[in-house]
Amino acid sequence: MKIIACVKQVPDTETQIKVASDGTSIAQDGIKWVMNPYDEFGVEEALRLKEKFGGEVTVVGLGPKRVTESLRTALAMGADKAVLVTDDALEGSDALAVAKALAAAIKDLEYDLILAGQRGVDDDQGLVGASLAELLGIPHLPVITKLEASEDGKSVKANRPVEGQTLVLEAALPALVTAQKGLNEPRYASLPGIMKAKKKPLEEKSLADLGLDASEFGTGARKLKVIELTPPPERQAGKIVEGESPEEKAAALAKLLHDEAKVI
């Protein structure tokens, strides 16, 4: 089975996010960059399928050169090769442009299955996976927590929890799935894995290499324009509910929620 796992690099979830002086982007200093947690589930699932069916896992990343680090992590986990779409002109691209560039990089590769995270924990758009499936003209099984490939490796079945129910989706391959937490527990890269990863192929592609017009990418070509970024609205610390005993505090709190906040 030939599998592609898409990888984005994002600030670690413990990172404090500050707005940069331009007012439309985040300050880059002090950020620890990591593989998007949802993409990690995708890489892990790709490796498990390869272990079962044989084949090859290619990780595809997009972004500045630092993304190489996350691709090497995926290679150290066990992926076979990596492609990095990198070009200064990509800086600031919106989800649709990113999906276009990924589609161009992927369409010439052989694949049965594409895995991606259900969303990046940075922009929280959750658009790239679905858009990529649309551009490639293949079925998309979104936000899945369980994946099974048929014995002949020609179709997949996936669980998709939605509000109050779980849908079991089925599609013939090639298809794209987006990974949700619960799909698996990603492995850590082993030391021998890290050593081996250094020698695995990692190919860089520019927009020109992919036959794409740079003017269709980057901040200037965004269809969704950022007017400004702001810190979240401040929440004021409220009142501490006092009382002589836990029972008194509980009674006072219930009264406040009913009479003052009017939420119960």
């Binding site: 658009l127 003209g137 979104p142 702001t230 501490i240 009674a251 709190l253």
Partner: protein, 329 residues
């Protein structure tokens, strides 16, 4: 020329879903701001009568695509039908709910239409005749105000559930329901729904819950969540959990609130034994009223809480459940 506001309503099992009333109400406000009409679109099987009810929330016109193939949502069936409806109506603004369905549908539809898309927005406005929207990013650690390039039409966005104000239903209002053509034989490969497993617990999904009682490391184990279940039942809410509680295996990942879990905005969020790691705070900071119960007075969660109780949660929560029953009786 693109004109008017269009909302895509959502039905499940033939019933119009609550988020549809929210987006129709917001659609009405935006249509008024633009001085244009509001069209509500419903896809489903046997949903025409129910669709007509959206007039009460402000729709001027209703378009129903009624076909057995549209009974359950699949992007493969919904996207081509909607793409046709949008082509025929050329709306300037297209609004959906950021539900499981809406997030997937909007993603795929925006790529089909080649337009920009703003996911999971918490407020909307019309400025100089254009749609602007505010959306939390980094799970709410920052807010982005966005708009659309001039060639990106319709201006497309989804609205976070539970955030937008629902109009008082106007039972005197009605609207014509027009049928949309359903032509679904494009020969494209498809994903299909093989099975629907209904969650028998009847628990409301956290993203839609009006009230949430959440537990963290301070719960100390899976059995500790029982007292939270009882409080949740008393207030009529769902139980959530912090990442540490989920990673410890005490609760299912579907219960996780935070940057790598669900982003929630209930009317009431009660955090029990949760210290308030930044990635958790990010996922619940748009809740309307936040209560924190924690024995550590220095826990960061108290900085975000409207009401704080500094005490052992196991001593506070059971009497709180009883007191809640009393005041709600």
């Amino acid at each position: 020329m693109a004109q008017g506001v269009m909302v895509i309503a959502e039905q499940r099992g033939g019933e119009i879903h609550k988020i549809s009333n929210e987006v129709t109400s917001e659609g009405r406000r935006l249509a008024d701001a633009l001085g244009q009409d509001l069209t509500a679109v419903v896809l489903g099987s046997g949903v025409k009568d129910k669709a007509a009810g959206l007039a009460r929330y402000g729709a001027d016109k209703i378009v129903a695509a009624d076909d057995p193939q549209l009974e359950n949502y699949t992007a493969d069936a919904y996207v081509p039908v909607l793409a046709e409806i949008i082509k025929a109506n050329e709306p300037a603004v297209l609004l959906l709910g950021a539900s499981s369905m809406g997030k997937d549908l909007s993603a795929r539809l925006s790529a089909r239409l080649g337009v920009g898309m703003a996911q999971d927005c918490v407020s909307f406005a019309v400025e100089d005749g254009k749609l602007t929207a505010v959306r939390p990013i980094y799970a709410g650690k920052a807010y982005a105000r966005v708009t659309f390039s001039d060639d990106s039409l319709p201006q497309m966005a989804t609205a976070r559930p539970n955030v937008l104000e629902v109009n008082e239903p106007d039972t005197g209002r009605s609207a014509d329901v027009a049928d949309a053509a359903v032509n679904l034989d494009d020969g494209q490969p498809k994903a299909k729904v093989a099975e629907v497993v209904v969650d028998e617990s009847g628990k409301v999904d956290l993203t839609e819950a009006d009230k949430i009682v959440s537990g963290g490391r301070g719960i100390k184990g899976p059995e500790g969540f029982q007292v939270l279940e009882e409080l949740a039942a008393a207030v009529g809410g769902s139980v959530g959990a912090s990442r540490s509680a989920v990673d410890a295996g005490w609760r299912s990942h579907t219960d996780q609130v935070g940057q790598t879990g669900k982003v929630v905005s209930p009317n009431l969020y009660i955090a029990c034994g949760i210290s308030g790691a930044i990635q958790h705070l990010a996922g619940m900071s748009t809740s309307k009223v936040i209560v924190a119960i924690n024995k550590d007075p220095d826990a960061p969660i108290f900085q975000k809480a409207d009401y704080g109780v500094v005490d052992d949660l196991f001593k506070v929560v059971p009497p709180l459940t009883e007191e809640v029953k009393k005041v709600m009786a």
